[in-house]
Amino acid sequence: MKQSRITIGIIAVTALFFSTYTPFFALQNLTGSLVKPTPILASCSATNDFFQLEYTSITRDNDVVDQWKTNFHDLMNSLTNAQLNDELIIDCTALTIGQFLQPTAAMSEILNTWEPFMSDPDSQKLSRLDIGHVQLELLRQYECALLERARFAETKIGPELVYEMFRSTFAPGSREQFGIKVKELSDETNDQREKIVQEIGITRETVEQVVRLLNGKERTTIIKAEAQCLERASLDIRNASGLLAEATSCLPRIWNSRDVLTDLPE
């Protein structure tokens, strides 16, 4: 009976697989390489290096949530500042918008070191105008990390407390006994969960307001960049027209130039 259930299961999975993917294969055959593979999506968990902290840096007064909070807001602050203060770098002859309005240095670093941007070659086409998308993606990952920690708080916090206890117990001169109480774990867990709930509420609203502000401001950036390019081109054209006017001033030299009566005074 058990064997037959497994067989039915395998058949069902195989059928499901083919029913799902056959149209895809057919489409791929017809269109060749037109169908783009699905981009790698960042997982909704704290897998990014940004969220990995050394046990040695974690204390009860400055726990993981506190450190994530500080690091994340610093990161967003630097992205925001770069967007507001960094000089606009324009390449007027660029062929793509990403080259035309290059991302700020802070944003480029994110694109080169964070998933999903790192693995997707298309993210290299992003321009500074895409700051909203980048900040919202970082926010999503931050929320994922916080949610994951809230969900698995006991399993995450337990080892951290043990490690901290280990350090304080075996520190020179310490008279503390090794071991943590269930209540300590429970209190720390509740404390961090409360902080996480609060943090998610505040951060989402903050980032959205910042994104709104930056996007509003960037609304005119492309016009400003175009205008600057137009200004540069205008200067070139002015130089060209100036040269042309200089050349035109020589027109009297060839007025009636084939006429014997047009000798100019020496």
Binding site: A150, I202, R212, I223, A227, E231, S234, S241
Partner: protein
């Protein structure tokens, strides 16, 4: 007081970029902190607290500040246990909550306003800002002629980088800015600076010239708050600004500033208060302060005394509009905005106050349906005339593009060429003519000028000796301020006749008269606009010119040129009204003699722009702009075309083909017919905005995501975490824990789902922007490509390196050997 408060709020939120002094590196932190303010346990809004303290005392005066603070922070159960605490906790918390919400809403609106205005605010000393790039591009392109004949004039802006000569005076202003943050006038440290920046955002001149700062009521009374502080004046700061202003009045402009031209001064030092989010801006006519980032708005008095403003939109009267060319409208870019332009009464007759009323007292259409009555304009039906001349330059013939007359060798005093200050009606200064001028314009003043129609001034035909007399009246019936504008008008007529053969009458028919007069009046009305006079009437330049052309050509019938509803008397009355206001304000006025003796730079330039620029041994001087260069090139080509022979096979009227035997050696012209044509107008338009479809799409996806069929309302599709099982219950402890966790998760999920909608809208609007810009940039690209192609073609023109031989030659090989590739 309420109205006053609301006006202030409306002005604050919608009319300008207001706000606080914050270091420019903390925008994110400031926003983060303001979000924290919504939770009084995390961070208290001091401004809101101050006002709740005031209000709470009116509810129960036995409450202490500590008790009220405990109620606000929701700690009254432990810190404020009296009966009065419990009894009054709810109403006090309600007041605090509504104040907080009010302030948060105001802050968010403020930031949206800032973000939208940041690139276009127009109050800046940064030449790289969008507000200043446009005038710069305009300055690079436009010719002097464009500026004088345009019916849609715009400000000319010149950027001038100051040297360190003015640094000490700028430092004085910076010191006063710093002093304002440390003064102890009863306001929180940054509020006084904030109020000062608000005060001088649009400059200090109006206030300074209106009344003495020292006599201004600078008493904060009993309530130190921002609302009152913005009505104070800061005399030390004003005086420091004035010292810089006076020093800048002696600045020597090279070339001199033209009428209406604005000089914007730049200096790195102007930005030295950026840690306080403040910078200094300086123009030739005013100096002021502004915020770099106006992202915070600590409205300290949204709650005033015992009156609570419920909603920011609960206002009755709109704020008073600033006078033309003052306040917001004094800035170069802002003055071109629709708020700062007059609405043509004739073209846009619909006044919101005149609309029909519906049942509820609002605006209604003729069928009684409620409508929003703003403004309705009809296209102009003013008839256009084009003036044609048999010879002489037509390109840049009218206007003012040359800075001084075309200069000939041997003339030291150029003014004598075109001005004989002592000349009367019968003077003859023909000996001053030279090969670089087509005519000599000779102004004279008279009590009775001969005139066409109802005009009071006159430009005579060019005499055989090249003299063009222009008679300017000593006084004008309606107002003597018109003398200057009549001089401009007649100078245009002189320009029209200067290149023509002597004794040419340019207005023998109605069409010719209308064309000549309209052209002259466009320049006149443009000057009236530049001087800020026309803006104070309801007329555009086009209408002004049409009305006056009819007057000048009335010998051909009433309204011979075009049909305009307004009659000349009405228009003149409006003008005179503005002139009389200028009289009251003490604006200086020139008499006829002064107009001639000390002509404005515009008039000088107009008189100068008459000569044939391309004659041999004549030098022309003009500002280096693309337009002016093209004026020069165009006039040279015209002159060559009409008076000489340049192109083989083409015979101008004054030369003969027989004189040129070498044309058979000419190669075919490779450029013939290859000049690129400008692309047909490729207008852009906003993409279709379909909010309903987008929302529907989101609803559908939401239901699909949670495994439901499409339901109405879509909120039925929301994920219900209470129905899921994610952890096993083992003990009562874990049961409560899991339940709590589910509630938290549920709240988070709802919050995230709700917020995701803004992400969707973000992407959609980005897509709309991309769609819009695609066409817009394409058009721009086509124009620039054509320009590039034309320039490349010009670059490939092969010019001969030798003059044609005068002695007979036997073959074409002479040209083949000596012509450069």
């Amino acid at each position: 007081m309420r109205n006053f408060l609301l006006h202030w709020l409306v002005i604050t939120l919608f009319a300008a970029s207001v706000q606080s002094a914050q270091a420019q590196t903390n925008v994110y932190t400031e926003i983060y902190n303001s979000v924290l303010l919504k939770n009084p346990r995390l961070k208290q809004d001091i401004g809101a607290r101050e006002h709740v303290l005031l209000r709470a005392k009116t509810i129960d005066d036995t409450l202490t500040d500590d008790q009220i603070t405990a109620i606000i922070t929701n700690n009254y159960l432990s810190s404020c246990t009296g009966v009065n605490c419990v009894k009054n906790a709810e109403p006090i918390q309600n007041i605090y909550d509504s104040t907080i919400n009010q302030r948060d809403f105001a802050r968010q609106l403020q930031r949206i306003a800032y973000s939208y205005e940041a690139g276009t605010i127009g109050i800046t000393n940064d030449p790289g800002s969008l507000a200043n790039i446009w005038p710069s591009i305009r300055g690079i392109w436009l010719s002097g002629t464009d500026n004088t004949i345009s019916t849609q004039p715009s400000s000319m802006v010149r950027f001038i980088k100051l040297d360190d000569e003015y640094d000490s005076k700028i430092q004085d202003i910076l010191s006063e800015i710093t002093a304002l943050t440390t003064n102890s006038s009863g306001l929180p440290s940054m509020d006084e600076l904030e109020a000062a920046v608000h005060r001088y955002r649009h400059g200090y001149r109006d206030l300074f010239t209106e009344s003495s700062c020292e006599s201004h009521n600078n008493d904060l009374e009993d309530e130190p708050n921002l609302l009152l502080a913005i009505h104070l004046r800061y005399c030390d700061l004003e005086n420091a600004i004035n010292r810089l202003y006076e020093a800048l009045q002696d600045y020597e402009y090279d070339p001199p500033l033209q009428t209406g031209e604005i000089a914007v001064f730049t200096r790195d030092l102007f930005m030295n208060a950026k840690d306080k989010d403040v910078y200094i801006w300086a123009r030739n006519d005013d100096i002021g302060l502004n915020w770099i980032y106006g992202i915070d708005s600590p409205h300290s008095t949204l709650v005033y005394e015992d009156e609570l403003v419920e909603t920011p939109w609960d206002y009755d009267d709109p704020p008073e509009e600033p006078d033309f060319l003052k306040g917001l409208c004094s800035h170069p870019l802002a003055k071109e905005g629709y708020m700062c332009r007059p609405v043509s009464a004739e073209l846009c007759p619909v006044d919101p106050d005149d609309c029909l009323t519906d049942d509820s007292g609002g605006c209604a259409d003729t069928e009684g349906k409620s409508v929003i009555g703003l403004l309705a304009c009809t296209p102009s039906n003013i008839q256009k005339y084009t003036r044609e001349s048999p010879s002489g330059q037509n390109i840049c013939q009218i206007g003012a593009w040359l800075e001084q007359p075309v200069e000939a060798d041997g003339y030291d005093d150029l003014s004598q060429i075109y001005h004989d200050k002592d000349s009367g009606e019968n003077d003859d200064i023909v000996e001053e003519m030279n090969e670089c001028s087509n005519c000599v314009i000779d102004f004279y003043c008279s009590d009775s000028c001969p005139a066409r129609g109802d005009e009071e001034s006159f430009a005579f035909q060019k005499t055989d000796t090249g003299i063009q007399k222009v008679c300017i009246p000593n006084s004008v019936e309606s107002h003597d301020r018109l003398i200057y504008y009549l001089a401009i008008h007649e100078t245009v007529h002189a320009q029209q006749m200067c290149g023509q053969p002597p004794n040419t009458n340019i207005a023998t028919t109605a069409e010719q008269c209308c064309a000549a007069e309209n052209e002259a009046y466009v320049v006149t009305c443009n000057a009236l606009w530049e001087d800020g006079i026309l803006q104070q009437t309801d007329y555009t330049i086009e209408q002004c010119a049409a009305i006056l052309s009819n007057v000048a050509c009335n010998e051909f019938g009433e309204k011979a040129c075009t049909i305009v509803e307004t009659d000349a008397e009405e228009f003149t009355d409006d003008l005179v009204e503005v002139f009389e206001k200028q009289d009251e304000d003490g604006v200086p006025m020139q008499s006829c003699e002064e107009v001639i003796a000390n002509p404005t730079s515009k008039l000088t330039s107009m008189v100068a722009s008459t000569g044939p620029v391309c004659n041999p041994n004549c030098a022309a001087k003009y500002e280096n702009t693309i337009g002016n260069n093209l004026c020069y090139i165009g006039q040279c080509i015209e002159q060559s075309w009409e008076q000489n022979r340049l192109v083989p096979g083409r015979v101008p009227s004054t030369t003969q083909e027989q004189a040129f035997p070498w044309e058979s050696c000419m190669n075919p012209d490779p450029q013939l017919g290859t000049i690129g044509s400008v692309a047909a107008g490729n207008t852009t338009r906003l993409p279709v905005y379909e909010p309903f479809r987008l929302v529907e799409q989101v609803d559908k996806e939401l239901c699909r995501l949670n495994g439901y069929p499409l339901q109405t309302p879509p909120v039925l599709c929301m994920y219900n975490s209470n129905e899921s099982v994610n952890l096993t219950f083992t003990t009562a402890f874990t049961l409560s824990q899991v339940t709590q966790e589910r509630m938290n998760n549920d709240a988070l999920l709802r919050s995230i789902t709700g917020h995701s909608l803004s992400n969707v809208s973000n992407r959609n609007t980005s897509a709309m922007l991309a769609t819009y810009l695609k066409t817009a940039i394409l058009s721009m690209n086509e124009v620039l490509s054509n320009v590039q192609r034309l320039l490349l073609q010009i670059g490939t023109v092969q010019l001969p390196t030798v003059m044609c031989p005068r002695e007979p030659i036997t073959s074409c090989s002479y040209f083949e050997q000596t012509t450069s590739p």
